[in-house]
Symmetry: none
Subunit: 210 residues, 4 copies
């Protein structure tokens, strides 16, 4: 017990700092398959290779762990979205398609869908988090889309009225399809790319120049 301090103190330090992330990663992995409510903190502990009590050293409660997980992933999500929208070089058509694909990948493969699900069904328990998610994920996502539309107008690819188009309508299909796909096997999942293309075509058909 006390003999472990001999070898390398850095080693332990390093692991210690990684702990919260490992716990969050394990938690998300379990939440993805079992859902938030049905996943016991003990399972998270086992999944992260730590003891139950250890989780409480880093997160004051199950909800706090969830909030921390959202925070940890939100940064990535937002950055991804912004990169797609702002640093993209290609046509608006490609940009939109890439954006939809990013949303899908982040939601489905990255597991972010679990955050949205929990907030949708148990949002009442996380009032601040709901606000924060709305402001940081949704609003920023919408803003990214808006900038993308404006860029399209600026590039002469979209009609000027596209600047007024509500970004929520652009994002909704990609998100709804991702959510459906995680529960309803026959709806949304397999041909996601095809649907995204059709959605882009729809947008360009209506908002595109000529």
């Amino acid at each position: 017990m006390d003999d472990t301090t001999k070898k390398g103190p850095k080693k332990r330090e390093r692991r210690k700092e990684a702990r919260p992330d490992e716990i969050i990663a394990a938690a998300i992995e379990l939440w993805k398959v079992r859902g938030f409510a049905a996943t016991r903190l003990e399972d998270v502990a086992i999944g992260a290779g730590v003891a139950k009590g250890t989780i409480y050293r880093y997160f004051s409660s199950k909800e706090a762990l969830f909030e921390a997980a959202v925070e940890a992933r939100i940064v990535r999500s937002v950055d991804q979205a912004n990169q797609s929208a702002d640093l993209f070089e290609g046509t608006t058509e490609e940009a939109l398609l890439t954006f939809f694909e990013k949303v899908r990948r982040e939601m489905v493969e990255g597991g972010s869908f679990i955050f949205l699900k929990v907030l949708l069904s148990e949002g009442h328990r996380f009032p601040e988090l709901v606000e924060r998610y709305e402001a940081t994920v949704l609003r920023r996502g919408f803003d990214a889309v808006r900038r993308l539309l404006l860029r399209g107008v600026a590039r002469g690819e979209l009609k000027s009225e596209a600047a007024e188009f509500d970004p929520r309508l652009v994002m909704a299909p990609a998100m709804m399809l991702s959510l459906w796909g995680t529960v309803f096997p026959g709806v949304g999942a397999p041909d996601a790319r095809q649907l995204h293309k059709q959605n882009v075509a729809l947008l360009l058909g209506s908002l595109g120049v000529e």
Copy 2:
């Protein structure tokens, strides 16, 4: 034992037959505000003005109550959707707008959003119900939309390619906006009608003739 086929045995039972519906109504009302998991069966009982045990006379478990509630509401939802699509007399533009409004009203005001939420976050506990919901609500909703698009083509209001357009893309925004609106105050709720109009404009702009 076999003598029960007398005159009118329904008389006395008719009043009692309302009980299950009252319980379901009370349950949905509570689920809407507190969510499914956070609503105790005792609260449902109080809400319905009965004792806890009474619920078990009609529903064998909390999950069975949920399934019964879905069944009870599904019929209405599907009928609504079909009416919108099939019996509608006006233009496709009006038909789409009406359809979106029906979806929104059913989801938000009718409270059907709670079913979707629960299935999204706890679908694992209701495998058959997930299938049933997908087949009865989602698939039929998509079919109604498809028929609506075909009707538009037949009426010469939509390009022939509209017949191939994926109905999921038409429904997704209306559903996603409804879901968002129940949790994120600033997203989706207040100006729903405006968004639906813009969505219809988008569809017609791309799929409409001329």
Copy 3:
């Protein structure tokens, strides 16, 4: 409901009087297979072809029903036992064998084993009934055996010391075997008659003259 008073008032009266017995019979039949605690009063009602509430017209509680069942069967048991012992004409050997067989039949086929089982495991709930059962079933059974032994001495078939032999030792094997047989498939049931014979041989071998 009110139209049934037309036909024969005697018919209903007669059935009314039979009700308690029918209920008791149905109860015992269920207790035999499911046990006392695991049998719901509703099952008894269904088995007896009456409504749950009707049981309470005749028996004030589940325990009262049990007590009444014991009383109803006790009379028969005791009479059977007394007949075996007192009215028997044959040898003591035959008398003992007949007696053991009566005990077994009453216990196993008649279902009396359920009374003993309940009193053994839940006797605390029925203090007066325990006393009554002890006095009416056990003690009288012992007395019947004692008289049987005395008769054997008088007939010159048993040594005089048999008059002092404790009847409990005579009865115990027959009862224990019956109890075992109702739960442990391999112990006691199939070859009961053979065991009774061996038990009689044992008794006569030790207590028999010559």
Copy 4:
């Protein structure tokens, strides 16, 4: 993770290892007086000086606790019985008397009667346990008796036909008397030793040489 194989990890656990036994002991003590069904798990917890939840750390259900209790006591019972039969040095008369006394002590004072009672009245809920009890307690008890009879024949104390005598008939009185004694105050308990003597006399009178 794999470093747990250090010096003495048993030290800390040894104290905790007593918990299951303490819980079993408390449970049996309560079952003896109140019966199995009527004893709430919370009472067991209080009796063992732990919280309700602690019981579930060691036993997955009330029934599992019962099964564990049977297992824990079965070993002792069987060992006792075997010792009596095999390692005994004295005459068959003494051996039988000692054996009966062991049975009685184990059943009445050791509290094993509660296992038999529960299995008799609620055996349906424990099908495997019934089998196990039959095979481990009853059958082995019978075998011990059989060996005891064979030993008596070998020692020239019993007639050769004693080898064929059914051990169930030897055990039944001791067990039945123990069971009776736990419920019916006037039957069996006080003069148990006297009855055992008479039973031995009966057996030797019939099966004994000369």
